[in-house]
């Protein structure tokens, strides 16, 4: 009671404080309003749709869904697939990161780039390439080995595609973790007489364990939410929950069951996400070092080094093979039958499917800057201003990270189908969906950079006579620019490659390239799908290049420390 009173007093003081600053008050209210409408409300709709039948509260829909063995199988499969992908993916990611961070193998930059490619391309490219390589008319199975009925659909193929798609996420996380562990610790252990294996086992690995754990959990959430790979590869004998929810709605027109499946998908995703965020990520070790140190690279024996090099090379070969296959497929006459080169697939894309290209670009280009700016504003408010509900604002805006796209997509069609917010089929529903799904990255990088910026830098500006608006404009904002652009690149890539939520929201008027690729794959036109994918990846690479160029042009002078984020 006493605490509550104090909280009330503090809140009322804070409210009194921000009402003195009308712009701030307006910003806070607007952001709260839009977070509630576009993040919380659709989620609530998913819940209510699955526990209300015919206006009555009941658990019948959930009961029906749970008692259906096919859906239960989907749930188990999803969990098992998530668990295996995350463990294998994190393992491969760790080896890759360890090799690049701790040895002096050649072609490090090349390996790094190879690992980045799957992150910036549509998440189902792996699945497509696998079908083209190992499917019925696959280049390797039927072309090279002469096997005609190799079963790639189902568990094996999907696991392979998921690991290739998601190990780069683990690699990026773990590279950061390993680089923050000072190599002098390993050198010290080595110097004290530990064998190389012991140094790894007693120093490197224990220090990296929290990072590995959080990589596993992140991968689990992402695999569980993934939609593209299972839709192509899972097949009917190996059902996956996210695909089931989609088919239930688009195939059976059964919205309540779809929502119930989404709800069942949501529970493990959210719990694992928060386990990662609030428990594992807190267990990080911080190694304090005076001066930046350079690894002596002596802690890995030459033999181990070359084994790791061979491992990375093999992985790089597999990834290159996938992209090479897509590229070849885009120029092949009829994949698997006549692989000679032609431009027909591109002609097809430009004549039949070009609207999807422009639609995707328009939506990505409009939603990206909005998500970026909104992310920066929320980061600034959360870190630098005091107002009641500050934590709740951060929490809600980060929620989209944890919620599978399928759930969000279903939530959006449930929430925005009727007036006053009848947005189904419009440009707006896709754009808003992207904006609110991709603000968390901007917020995260904005928060990170603001926490690094010493508040006295802003105080110095105020002290020298600048008011709060001028300080934000001339000091805080320029310092946030690199974070803004890295958030921008991320949300652009995501908007271009998104499928799981968007597939529910597209219409004849507004279609997306990813959805087009999917339907081409489903109707067996692998060549057209490949051509679409090549164009998509091409656009993304071009956009990244342009953003980099702009950044260099305007902030190149301060390149040194400013651009390294």
């Amino acid at each position: 009671m006493e605490n509550y009173k104090k909280w009330l007093k503090k809140s009322s003081q804070e409210i009194a404080f921000i009402s003195k600053d009308p712009i701030l008050l307006l910003a806070v209210l607007l952001i709260f309003g839009s977070l509630i409408i576009f993040i919380l409300y659709p989620l609530c709709k998913v819940i209510t749709a699955s526990v209300f039948s015919k206006g009555q509260f009941s658990f019948n829909i959930l009961k029906d869904v749970i008692s259906n063995w096919y859906f239960r199988q989907g749930f188990y499969n999803s969990i098992i697939m998530g668990a295996l992908t995350s463990i294998i993916g994190a393992g491969i990611g760790f080896l890759f990161a360890f090799t690049l961070a701790r040895t002096d193998i050649p072609f490090k930059k090349f390996f790094h780039l190879i690992a980045i490619i799957p992150i910036i391309s549509p998440p189902f490219i792996g699945a497509m390439a696998i079908i083209m390589l190992f499917g019925n008319n696959g280049l390797i199975t039927s072309g090279l080995l002469g096997i005609n009925n190799f079963k790639i659909y189902g568990f094996r193929g999907l696991l392979f595609a998921q690991v290739i798609t998601f190990f780069p996420v683990a690699y990026i996380t773990l590279r950061g973790v390993l680089e923050s562990i000072s190599p002098t610790l390993e050198d010290a252990a080595f110097d004290l007489g530990g064998s190389r294996w012991k140094v790894f086992n007693k120093v490197t690995l224990p220090l990296a364990i929290p990072g590995i754990a959080s990589a596993i959990l992140i991968l689990f959430v992402e695999t569980l939410a993934d939609f593209g790979n299972p839709l192509i590869l899972a097949g009917s004998k190996f059902p996956i929950l996210s695909v089931q929810a989609y088919l239930q709605i688009t195939g059976m027109y059964d919205l309540p069951s779809g929502a119930a499946l989404a709800l069942i998908l949501l529970v493990p995703s959210i719990s694992v996400y928060f386990l990662q965020k609030y428990w594992v990520s807190r267990k990080k070790y911080v190694t304090v070092t005076g001066k930046p140190t350079v690894s002596s690279h002596k802690v890995v024996s030459p033999a181990a080094k070359w084994i790791l090099f061979a491992f990375c090379s093999f992985l790089a070969f597999v990834i290159l093979l996938i992209y090479f296959t897509i590229l070849w497929g885009a120029f092949a006459k009829v994949w698997g039958f006549d692989n000679s080169l032609t431009l027909n697939n591109f002609k097809y894309v430009f004549s039949v499917g070009f609207k999807a290209v422009t639609d995707t670009l328009i939506i990505a280009i409009t939603s990206t800057p909005i998500a970026g700016i909104l992310g920066m504003i929320i980061a600034f408010l959360v870190v630098r201003k005091k107002f009641p509900g500050r934590r709740e604002m951060e929490f809600t805006s980060m929620l989209s990270f944890a919620v599978p796209g399928t759930v969000i997509g279903i939530g959006y069609i449930l929430a925005f189908n009727n007036p006053p917010l009848a947005l189904t089929g419009t440009f707006l529903i896709l754009m808003l969906n992207f904006v609110f799904r991709y603000i968390p990255v901007g917020i995260q990088s904005g928060v990170a950079i603001l926490q690094q910026v010493d508040p006295s830098i802003e105080e110095a500006a105020v002290d020298l006579g600048a008011d709060s608006r001028y300080t934000f404009k001339k000091v805080t904002l320029p310092l946030m620019v690199p974070a803004f652009f890295s958030g921008l690149i991320y949300s652009f890539v995501r908007a271009m490659t998104a499928i799981s939520a968007a597939i529910f929201l597209v219409s004849a008027n507004w279609n997306l390239m990813t959805v087009q690729i999917m339907s081409q794959v489903e109707s067996g036109r692998l060549g057209a799908a490949s051509a679409f994918s090549v164009i998509l990846v091409g656009i993304i690479l071009l956009a990244i290049l342009i953003i980099r160029l702009i950044l260099n042009l305007f902030y190149g002078n301060f390149g040194g420390t400013m651009l390294k984020i």
């Binding site: 010493d454 006295s456 105080e459 002290d463 020298l464 006579g465 620019v481 002078n557 301060f558 040194g560």
Partner: protein, 368 residues
């Protein structure tokens, strides 16, 4: 251009669940005269930085008034106050060049480009670092960043310059050099300054006046010589330099002096602060370098006698730790020019004496 603090207190509301209130500054009264350099000195958590931030406007006092140049400024935000701060972390804007950093406040005032450049170059010439004009902050050493921060603060010709432990991030050698430079710039421009530090040597060398603070209160405000020679209380005596506290008893009051009994001998010592009664127990403050030592063979009733416990030879000086019967604290003596004064060994019995002028009386109650 003076600064006046009247009955300033600052209570911080507690963070977290216990919500404990902390009184960081308690009823501080201070006047800084025009052109004066005043140092706030004290251990960490004594309220010195809070006091400084109250002057700059970054903290609002819970009670009391802040006056700058004869105007009450309590309700004036930091950007409207005529003060400039040099931050502990320098707070150089990382996205601006050295010249843009220094010219920041002039740009705010709406000066033209050429005029700003001329003024920035002028100030950099006075401070002798013109060659850094086009540099970026990440190409500067600690000392250079410090100079940029100082130039940025003085270019605006503020009424008051505030320093928040500006040298604590520099290495020892650079600290000595920079404090001379800060003092030179402050005197060149004649800017009223408040300087926060926990380094007593820094305070003694650069200040016109030192304000020693502890637990939010001012312990003593005086010139460096007064602070060191005649500390007002045991806290100040102990905080600045090293000190010996020798207990005694007043046996007679004279016009300006008191006759003190040390048990086996008596001394007449001048009284500077406070009102003492006959028979009152007092503490005599004597600095280690004021002590004279001699071999204890000749029994001298006018001296304290003790046995040497420990000695440290430093070349120009020898430091002795001497155990005296009946004293709980060991006597600490620094002997300069030991070649002439003689060398003693551990376990030697010695006589310790001091001249009355080097001693100073404090009340025993005056623990603060």
């Amino acid at each position: 251009m003076s600064v006046k603090l009247v009955n300033i207190s600052k209570i911080f509301k507690g963070q977290g669940n216990d919500q404990k209130e902390v009184e960081a500054v308690k009823d501080v009264n201070l006047e800084v005269k025009e052109g004066e350099m005043v140092t706030l000195l004290g251990p960490s958590g004594c309220g010195k930085t809070t006091t400084l931030r109250i002057v700059s406007g970054f903290e609002t006092p819970s009670t009391g008034e802040v006056w700058i140049s004869g105007k009450m400024v309590n309700n004036i935000p930091p950007n409207k106050r005529d003060t400039s701060m040099v931050f502990q972390s320098y707070a150089i804007f990382p996205h601006l060049s050295v010249a843009q950093n220094i010219g920041f406040s002039l740009e705010l005032k709406g000066w033209g480009k050429n005029k700003i450049e001329k003024e920035v170059r002028r100030i950099m010439k006075i401070m002798e670092f013109s060659e850094l004009y086009n540099r970026r902050p990440d190409q500067l050493s600690g000392g250079q960043q410090q100079r940029v921060a100082l130039a940025r603060a003085v270019i605006n010709k503020p009424s008051v310059l505030l320093f928040d432990e500006p040298l604590s991030n520099l290495d020892a050698k650079l600290r000595v050099q920079m404090r001379m430079e800060i003092r030179k710039i402050q005197q060149t421009f004649g800017i009223t300054s408040i300087y926060v530090t926990h380094d007593q040597e820094e305070a003694l060398t650069i200040s016109d006046r030192i304000v020693v603070m502890n637990e939010g209160k001012i312990m003593q405000a005086a010139t460096p010589i007064e602070i060191y020679s005649y500390p007002k209380n045991m806290f100040v005596a102990d905080f600045i330099g090293r000190v010996n506290f020798i207990p005694g008893k007043i046996i007679e009051k004279k016009e300006n002096t008191l006759l003190i009994d040390f048990g086996i001998y008596q001394k007449e010592i001048k009284c500077r602060y406070g009102d003492f009664k006959v028979n009152e127990s007092v503490i005599i403050v004597v600095r280690p370098e004021s002590l004279k030592m001699s071999s204890a063979n000749k029994k001298d009733p006018h001296c304290i006698q003790g046995e040497i416990n420990k000695l440290v030879y430093l070349g120009p000086t020898i430091e002795y730790e001497i155990e005296v019967k009946g004293l709980s604290r060991k006597i600490f003596a620094v002997i300069y020019n030991p070649i002439e004064e003689g060398f003693f060994k551990v376990e030697d019995l010695v006589n310790i004496d001091f001249k009355p002028i080097a001693a100073h009386i404090l009340s025993q109650k005056d623990k603060e």
